[in-house]
């Protein structure tokens, strides 16, 4: 159409209508309330676990061929872990284990919570290997690090070797699952960043797929009720698509805030609550150590751009079907693109920043997941972020042109299954 239709004010009017009709609907209220309740419950899980576990004893084994070293390790770890600030509702028992292999397999099987292997190297340096079972919290690992340092200091003062004090080497290993082997972790900070990364990736995935479907369902509903005929004569396809994506995006953001704010508030009150109910103790709340301002900003940027990209595709797809039932058939193939990105993000979270994950973090459909994860858990060069954002913006521009064309042709199709040829023709601008 060569008619000049500026995007505003009509896109704004459509956006306001779309926003209001969703935010004021009963379904929106119910689903927001349910999800917010769920989020708060999940946030409180560590607290509940502590309440249920009560004062159970955590047993840590110490393996060493050096008797004095073993004794020192046991007494130091017991005092560090069981100090007033460090034990809370739990008590730690540190015991001597004889066989290293047997102890490690007991950790993996879960019958022992952790095992510390202490060795004296030929040059006098102490080498510690700590196998942590799944039940041991991330906050403990830092205390273990402090503890083994204390062991090294005591050991030095007792033996006074001529070589002088040497920093002990510490390897922290986490038992992944029975038989799954151990992998090195770099401590509490990494764990905190991983939690943030997981939360962000899950949030982005859910929002893109669910709110994308809102857009598609909105288009289909207008076609089904035939009100589309009035709309397309009152506003241009560009105005309608922009208004829909903006309005539903804003409604989605509103719901997300309605879920996140109570969840974050729950995390914030969790420690005081735990202190009040269980007495003084270490932090039970999920660590938000990895949450930086830059990361939140990146999340918002990738959420906004990712949503626009996916919502445009969902709007075009919605215009091609006439009934809500047909939309269900489109839902899976549409979400597959997002699922692939999601899986790669999970891959990146587990530490594999292999070549393909790096490549995927530039690809527009996946970068909202994968680059965000890399930002959360790893080191990313500035140019990489710029490249992925640039490609994302370019992709949005291209998809916008195609989506508006498909939409303009699609909304007039009723009853017929649009073939690939019809879609291609529409994408090329035929109407």
């Amino acid at each position: 159409m060569s008619r000049h239709d500026p995007i505003l004010p009509n896109a704004g009017i459509v956006a306001r209508q779309e926003y209001a009709s969703r935010v004021h609907s009963g379904l929106f209220h119910v689903s927001t309330l349910l999800l917010a309740t769920l989020a708060v419950l999940v946030a409180f899980v560590p607290f509940f676990v502590r309440v249920v576990e009560g004062r159970t004893v955590t047993t840590i084994g110490v393996v060493s061929t050096d008797d004095p070293l073993a004794q020192r390790s046991i007494s130091i770890l017991e005092s560090v872990l069981n100090t007033a600030g460090g034990s809370g509702g739990r008590s730690f028992r540190v015991v001597r284990e004889v066989d290293e292999r047997n102890a490690v397999s007991r950790v993996e099987a879960g019958s022992l919570d952790a095992v510390l292997i202490a060795n004296r190297l030929p040059n006098g340096q102490l080498a510690f290997v700590f196998h942590a079972g799944e039940g041991l919290g991330e906050d403990r690992l830092q205390q273990i690090s402090v503890g083994v340092f204390g062991v090294a200091v005591l050991d030095y003062s007792a033996n006074n070797p001529l070589s002088g004090f040497r920093l002990p080497s510490v390897d922290l290993l986490r038992a992944a699952s029975p038989g799954g082997g151990s992998q090195p972790i770099s401590g509490a900070e990494y764990a905190g960043r991983r939690i943030v990364g997981i939360v962000f990736v899950v949030l982005i995935f859910i929002t893109l797929v669910i709110y994308g479907m809102w857009v598609a369902a909105g288009v289909v509903a207008e076609k089904t009720s035939r009100v589309m005929e009035l709309m397309i004569s009152a506003a241009s396809p560009r105005q309608l698509v922009v208004g829909k994506v903006a309005g539903i995006g804003a409604a989605g953001l509103t719901q997300m805030l309605g879920i996140l704010v109570p969840a974050i508030a729950a995390i914030a009150i969790e420690d005081p609550l735990a202190a009040a109910v269980l007495g003084p103790g270490p932090s039970v709340a999920p660590s938000m150590a990895g949450l930086s301002v830059a990361l939140v900003a990146a999340f918002l940027v990738y959420f906004a751009l990712g949503f626009v990209l996916y919502a445009l595709i969902y709007a075009a797809a919605g215009s091609l079907v006439s009934r809500a039932e047909d939309l269900q058939m489109l839902a899976l193939p549409l979400s597959l693109i997002a699922i692939v990105g999601y899986l790669q993000a999970v891959l990146a979270l587990t530490g594999g920043t292999a070549g393909f994950v790096r490549f995927a973090s530039y690809v527009p459909f996946w970068s909202p997941f994968v680059m965000l994860t890399r930002l959360a858990v790893g080191r990313v060069e500035a140019w990489e972020v710029a490249l992925s954002l640039g490609l994302l913006v370019v992709a949005i521009g291209l998809i916008f042109v195609v989506a508006v064309r498909v939409y303009a042709a699609g909304v007039l199709l009723y009853g017929q299954r649009p073939g690939l040829r019809a879609i291609t023709r529409a994408a090329l601008g035929a109407r």
Partner: protein
């Protein structure tokens, strides 16, 4: 001529929807766009609105081509009726009017005024799904006119309406015409067109078969009609002996008799007098628009709403249409 549709061509794949369609509508007139389903009426309107792009030809209003006209020039009542089912009538009409640039308070006032004129002021706060089809149609009519467009494009506005609503909508049409609006409405109901239109165009397969002022179109076939009253004889059985004359609307007092092109009305009168019958009424009239349509197109506009003949499958009747159209064309040229 303010509204000019000039040699419009539109193809959908291998289907030719519009095949050089042309007609003109004088400003301030009610214009009937007559044709069967699939004749190209809706496609023409969608091109005017910019929803579809023509493969050739133009539509212009007041000398400005449709693609350069603002959307507000047109008011459109689509054939497929639809509203937001869960939204109140007031809210959705204000929303639609807003898209055409009407401020919210003004739109709300207009909605209440018009609903009161349609004698349904209580509809303002009802949801669309609570209204009957006919009442939803009135609401859609309002959606088309709240922004005060110059041209109203109404696609089958009277289809599916009960007589009360037809009368209301007709009155509203005529009032808008009197305010200087140009109204184009498509229909396959010839009686409605005959009652309301100052000019018409009959379309078939994407072409205008005949168009112009109603009277000219009705005389275009050369066919005449006689309204005849004979004392003591309402069966008019003797008419079968008069070639080219047949009763199309029998009545106890007067009957409408259609004459083939070339048959003089006087011959009918002479035949009655020759039989010594007492003629109480004799009036020469134009052929009905319905008959004119059949003469030009070869089948009635609402053919697909009637049962096909019992001796063959329904599709056969349709396949026969092109042949009968050719025959009708021959009739016209003979006339």
């Amino acid at each position: 001529m303010p509204l000019v549709v000039d040699r419009l061509v539109k193809r959908f794949g291998s289907v030719v929807a519009l095949d050089g369609l042309s007609f003109e509508v004088p400003r301030g007139q009610v214009f009937g766009f007559l044709g069967a389903n699939g004749a190209g009426k809706t496609t023409t309107m969608r091109i005017a609105l910019g929803v579809l792009r023509p493969d050739g030809g133009t539509i212009a209003w007041d000398g400005i081509r449709s693609e350069d006209l603002p959307r507000t020039a047109w008011g459109y009542l689509p054939e497929e009726r639809g509203l937001y089912p869960r939204m109140t009538i007031l809210d959705q009409l204000v929303y639609f009017a807003g898209l055409y640039g009407v401020p919210r308070d003004r739109a709300a006032r207009l909605v209440r005024e018009w609903l009161a004129r349609f004698r349904v002021p209580e509809f303002a706060d009802r949801r669309a799904e609570q209204l009957s089809k006919g009442n939803q149609q009135k609401v859609q009519f309002l959606a088309a006119i709240l922004h005060d467009p110059d041209v109203l494009l109404m696609d089958e506005p009277f289809t599916g309406l009960d007589p009360v609503n037809v009368a209301l909508l007709r009155e509203a049409f005529l009032e808008l015409r009197d305010r200087g609006k140009t109204i184009v409405f498509s229909t396959h109901q010839m009686e409605t067109a005959e009652a309301m239109c100052e000019s018409v165009a009959i379309v078939d397969r994407g072409r205008v078969v005949v168009g112009g002022p109603l009277r000219e179109v009705k005389r275009s076939t050369g066919r005449r009609m006689v309204i005849l009253g004979i004392e003591g004889d309402h069966r008019l059985e003797w008419l079968s002996a008069v070639p080219g004359a047949r009763v199309i609307r029998p009545g106890m007092d007067r009957s409408e008799i259609e004459l083939d092109a070339g048959v003089e009305p006087g011959a009918l009168l002479a035949a009655a007098i020759a039989r010594d019958l007492r003629v109480t009424h004799f009036e020469i009239a134009d052929a009905s628009l319905e008959q004119v349509f059949i003469d030009h197109v070869g089948r009635p506009a609402d053919e697909d709403m009637r049962l096909a003949p019992a001796d063959g499958p329904a599709s056969d009747g349709r396949n026969d249409a092109p042949g009968s159209e050719a025959a009708a064309g021959a009739d016209v040229s003979a006339a």
